[in-house]
């Protein structure tokens, strides 16, 4: 496990979409000092937003009082600076191989979150967490 530095962030939110705006700002607070360009910061915020939205909608089946733990860290990836975000929920477990983005050839609302996450981030790993819930670890490398 990587050390949490003073620039990193750990927070627990309730399963509630009203928390998303605050989480985005916490992501920005870690990503900007690493040096990510503004567009990359926005894309990382988007990926985190989509991941938490999926937990709210699919992991817990809608807003509720259950927790979502979020850890945002500066790490090394291939000897370069990177951002790593870990999202741990306590909802429904899903086989990681089933978490795939849908085809973009079909234009319809919904189902775009996983595609966005996998497009924006360099490394995305879903795994069942202990006895319940899922853990998502995603990383993006800073390229000057």
């Amino acid at each position: 496990m990587d050390d949490v530095t003073c620039a990193d962030a750990e927070l627990t939110i309730r399963c509630d979409p009203t928390a998303l705006a605050d989480v985005r700002q916490r992501v920005r607070g870690v990503a900007e000092p690493i040096g990510f360009a503004d567009q990359d910061v926005s894309n990382i915020m988007l990926a985190v937003d989509e991941a938490i939205a999926n937990v709210i909608r699919h992991g817990y089946g809608g807003p509720c009082d259950e927790p979502i733990n979020i850890r945002i860290q500066r790490v090394s990836m291939d000897e370069a600076a990177a951002i790593q975000i870990t999202i741990r929920d306590f909802g429904k477990q899903v086989e990681p191989d089933c978490i795939v983005g849908r085809s973009l050839d079909e234009v319809r609302p919904g189902g775009l979150g996983v595609h966005i996450i996998r497009t924006v981030m360099d490394d995305v790993v879903y795994s069942p967490a202990d006895d319940r819930g899922m853990r998502l670890v995603m990383r993006k490398k800073y390229v000057p």
Partner: protein, 112 residues
């Protein structure tokens, strides 16, 4: 009006709605509800000005896709006006920039 819906203006052929702020899973139900209400008025053109939208996620994009389909069923058209760089990036990631009619300003939508 709300924080999200800055203004709505109508004439017999078109409706212009100007949005503002950040659209995420928290705000997109409000957006969807408001735009569906406008769709139900059956404008020939629904012109959605996104120039002041600083952020949009897939739930907001999904609302726009649904509104597009509702309008099309009724013979209407949806125009997205002047999306910011961030909004454009989300449209490109989802390849929906190829699907929507995106114009630089409201006048262009009115004269299209």
């Amino acid at each position: 009006m709300t924080d999200l819906i800055e203004s709505v203006s109508r004439n017999e052929n078109h409706t212009v709605v100007r949005l503002n702020g950040e659209i995420d899973l928290h705000r997109s139900p409000e957006l969807h509800h408001a735009l569906v209400d406008l769709c139900n008025e059956k404008p020939r053109r629904l012109i959605v000005n996104l120039s002041k939208v600083q952020y949009i996620d897939s739930s907001g994009i999904g609302s726009l896709v649904d509104v597009f389909r509702r309008l099309k069923r009724g013979g209407g058209a949806l125009f997205l006006v002047s999306p910011s760089e961030r909004v454009t990036s989300v449209l490109e990631i989802t390849r929906l920039n190829e699907f929507f009619t995106i114009v630089a300003d409201e006048q262009q939508a009115l004269s299209a």
